[in-house]
Amino acid sequence: MGAQKKVAAAARVRDDSEDLTRQRLQAIVLADSFTTQFRPITLERPKVLLPLVNIPMIDYTLAWLESAGIEEIFLFCCAHSSLVIDYLEKSEWYSRSNPNLLVRTIVSPKSTSVGDALRYIYEQQTETSQIQGDFVLVSGDTVSNMPLADLIQEHRDRKKKDEKAIMTMVIKKQFRLEIGSDQIFMAVDPLTKQLLHYEEGNARSGDVCLDKSLLNSSNPSVLVCNDMQDCYIDICSPEVLSLFEDNFDYQHLRRHFVNGLLVDDIMGYKIFTHEIQSSFYAARIDNLRSYDMVSKNIIQRWTYPYVPDINFSGNRPLKLGRQGIYRASDSVQSRSADIGASTAIGYGAKIGNGGKIFNSVIGNGCCIGSNVVIQGSYIWNNVTIEDGCEIRNAIVCDGVKIRAGAVLQPGVVLSFNVVVGRDFVVPAFSKVSLLQQPTTEDSDEEMEYAGSSSGTADLLSGVNNLQLESKASELGPDGTGYIWKVCDSAHDEEWKHSVVPIPMDKLADITRAMNDDDIDDESVVPPSGELKSDTDSINTDANDDYGYFEREVEETFLMAIIKDDVDHVIRLINSRRFAYNMASADCAGAVFYSMMRLAVNTPHNSARELYRNATGVITKWKGVLGFYLKQTDEQIEVIMKFEEMCEESAELGPLFAKIVHFLYDKDVVQEDAILRWGEEKAGADECDKVFLNQCEALIQWLKEASEEEEEEEDS
């Protein structure tokens, strides 16, 4: 089929670039996305090998790059690198003696981000294998059929004119509002297509802030888009690699690198965008929702020629029937089974009587019993589904057994070899794996993946144990597998990233949330003058800053006290203080706050014990406090801070006066500070004076004491 075309494409590329010094067209393919969206599946198999309409994702990417005229591909593997390499060795990519395409693999199990990967590639370059010129940077989960030669040429031409134009980003008009994926707001110069602003995030509310300098006389117009999609296909100049090398803190390609370049006006590097024509397709699979969408697009032939009925990567082509039904020639299907539109059925699949299957993909070697309903689901290879099961909007991995009468509710993901027990109902959005959920769930998503490669081995060894263990698993009496718990915060988000169509009420919620935001926003903006809102936001920024600072100090403090060294604690806290540019008083407040939190968090049964805890902490760490409490003002700040804490905590409230007294006894706060605090507070509202009243006795006593002293001095 496409052999001729490939040659033609390659030839054309050669013609185009002949005037340049001959450069091989190179591409870097990241066979690892450094995210955890596909867990638990990706614990056992790398994402790029997951089947997309029965063909591994990486094949789509490689086939596309090959036909686009790329001659050398650096395939970067990280997690499960051996599996990826094994697969490639078996597939045609290595074995095929294709003189036009050279695939090299680079393995670095330690990389935890795109940044690490590119740095590693940069370091590993040798004479024989190196990035020579402009290259295409894509991840191994990209499905596209766009031509690259012209785009690379465009990039080169631009680069020749402007040294600083080092990257061209491919963007595409969004046909659907994708709620699952992040919203991207970008600002582009409508004439030159230079990227001026890039912002991604889930927030559909709030403001997009464009720097004022973007608009000037030479550039009177800026296009802000929300309806474009970032395809994560970049044409990069070699500078990109060295920039990653120079900026060792760049991790994420967009968040750090792109935004870093846009903000940095010293180097003046520029990024340009290229909007692909609507007749071409480009998409990246970065979560289950996009997996669902791209699968459907493939079935609907948007990605032609990368469709199931064409052999583009050594796959066995399926036969396309009417209504977009793809069928393997040897699949066996009962006459009474009802196969609906937009469905693909793999080789050796057997479908029993009375089944209803539509909008789904059935893998090779699947065995489906009678009266099974499968809708909008992705069944991978060698899955056994017994009679009477009902599967809606689920992903079922290789080797899964679903016993008779079981039901998968929408959004379920069954990882490899899971067994669902008879008549068991798997609750919606649950993720099931033979592997236990890693207990130390890192919040930092980039960190997670790094751990996984080593962790998997341990987990895998656990699989055997599991099978030995009692049969009563979480999936019914005759099932095996663990249902992963979803952390609370993520639970609400689960529906966004699943293969389930977005429910109406959620959609309404989103719009409502936007609406609410508007109203909140409105209350901030005063009716007259936009300027005020600015100052408001600055204030909140400062508050936020302080909030972060306080939290960091608390963490630092808790970490530091393990070492039991006052100087050490001070040193660490000072480093935080300079990082946030905080005054000494703020530090004192934050330190005291941390101390009190420590006291409160230490187990206690009564107020007495709490008091003892508090005094203990104070006695031990008063050196730290003392360091920041040299001025009366700072001491007052601490008292105020404490007052604030007491207002919030019912436990601490009654102890206020006692602890203040204790602080006085320990010379942490001076009597001046207490008295001045009392004076300041004297004018406050009655409700604010709760703690002042508590301290009345103390203040009275202090006053008398000082008067006595004065008298003594007088006499």
Partner: protein
């Protein structure tokens, strides 16, 4: 006529001191020997907008303006003059005359515009979209209006950089964002909700608000009533309407009840699904307002439209002394179709009753008013000279405006200056970039540059 036109003619604008005075409010400042207001009136008349209310700040100014109008065009137009208190702002002025407003739509025009943009086009756009407000935008002069006027490069740099920053949708029909460049300190903040709805927004700094607005009367009055703090149409009312276009708080009374009354119940439910699927399939339908309007949370929207004037059109607001100079120069120069005069073969206008001395030359792009006398060996270039001026001999006048009844002694040299009416320059005065207040006397032989002469 169902469009009512309000002309905001201002009062004694402090920007224009010393050109304006108790005798001459801003609206009556002469541009090529005609009050600036007459240009607006002509413009409106040519668009068949004849039902006008001229709003003037201050009783005195109103009397003056009223007097002029009744003498000049009472026969052609139906003009009412309303006086409002000084310094109430544009929104305040409209509030004060609200009881005069009866038509469905109101066209608001600033009284200091010299332009050939058709206001009728704004009205038509407004009607076509059934908009709450339609704003006329025109190209920002790149550097000094109509630079080919040829007064040299110096005033090009003077142009203050207070551009408007304007966000438009992809079809350039709707106004999604507006801010004054000077107000934005660092960031332009665009609301994501509007951006999400519109899909794309083009932010332009090369357009400016021309101070010609069409408002729906109900909307305008509602906003003015609800937000008593709003002072300025441009800075308060318009940004407010733009900001809230996707969740309109206006029409909260009668209209809302009406629409909810008949359409709610079942209709809403049906709509919901339609809208949701629309949102799913494509968030940026051309009329994104409708998508928002028809369903969710019975949210109301209103449209803020724009009409972008053709770049070839002339537009200047007379709001600074520099603008005054520019307008005078342009109206007898490049934009002479605005002046309504017919030019002589020398591209100038010398009134038949004016008297020129021997060897006096009046260059192209000049104007010499009725009954003025110019002595011998004078040279007048690119200047406007008013009525009944007396100009001595050996006088050089370049790029200047001399208003009615001014007296200029022998041997004076005037460049880039404004001499107001009844002012007197004694012999051998040299002025460059100066303004001389009405009735002021500049002593003989003095030389000045860039000064303002006014009685304290």
């Amino acid at each position: 006529m169902d469009f009512q036109v309000v002309i905001l003619a201002g009062g004694f604008s402090s920007n224009l001191v010393p050109l304006v005075s108790k005798e001459v409010p801003k609206a009556l400042l002469p541009v090529a020997n005609r009050p600036v207001l007459s240009y607006v009136l002509d413009l409106l008349e040519s668009n068949n907008l004849k039902d006008l209310i001229v709003v003037v700040e201050g009783e005195d100014a109103a009397l003056k303006v009223g007097g002029w109008i009744s003498s000049a065009c009472v026969d052609r137009l139906h003009v009412e003059v309303a006086a409002v208190a000084e310094n109430v702002g544009t929104a305040g002025a409209l509030r004060a005359i609200a009881h005069h407003l009866t038509a469905k739509d109101i066209l608001i025009v600033s009284g200091d515009i010299v332009s050939d943009i058709p206001p009728g086009a704004v009205a038509a756009t407004h009607r076509r979209h059934d908009a709450a407000v339609t704003v006329m935008l025109c190209a920002q002069p790149v550097s000094g209006p109509s630079e080919s006027g040829g007064s040299g490069g110096k005033d090009k740099t003077k142009k203050p950089a207070c551009d408007d920053i304007i966000g438009l949708d992809s079809l350039k029909q709707f106004l999604l964002y507006i801010a004054k460049g000077a107000e934005i300190k660092k960031d332009t903040r665009v609301k994501k909700s509007i951006l999400c709805a519109a899909g794309k927004m083009e932010i332009r700094s090369d357009l400016m608000d021309s101070h010609i607005y069409a408002f729906k009367r109900s909307v305008l009055q509602e906003v003015l009533d609800q937000k008593p703090a709003f002072r300025s149409l441009k800075e308060d009312v318009l940004p407010y309407l733009v900001r809230t276009q996707l969740r309109s708080e206006i029409f909260s009374d009668q209209n809302n009840v009406e629409e909810n009354g008949n359409g709610n119940g079942k209709n809403n439910m049906q709509n919901n699904e339609v809208v949701l699927s629309q949102i799913l399939s494509n968030a940026s339908l051309p009329s994104f307002h409708q998508v928002y309007e028809s369903g969710l949370d019975s949210r109301k929207t209103h449209k803020c439209c724009v009409y972008i004037a053709d770049e070839s059109k002339y537009f200047v607001r007379l709001n600074s002394i520099q603008a005054f100079m520019d307008v005078n120069r342009d109206v007898i120069g490049d934009a002479n179709h605005l002046s309504g005069y017919s030019f002589s073969a020398h591209h100038n206008i010398v009134h038949p009753s004016a008297e020129l001395g021997s060897k006096t030359t009046v260059g192209p792009h000049c104007m010499l008013g009725e009954g003025s006398q110019v002595g011998d060996k004078c040279s007048v270039k690119r200047s406007v000279i008013g009525r009944h001026c007396r100009i001595g001999s050996n006088v050089k006048i370049v790029n200047s405006v001399v208003m009615d009844h001014a007296t200029i002694g022998d041997g004076c040299s005037i460049q880039g200056s404004v001499i107001c009416s009844n002012a007197q320059l004694q012999e051998r005065v040299t002025l460059r970039d100066c303004q001389v207040e009405a009735g002021y006397v500049v002593c003989a032989g003095s030389e000045h540059k860039g000064e303002t002469f006014a009685r304290k």
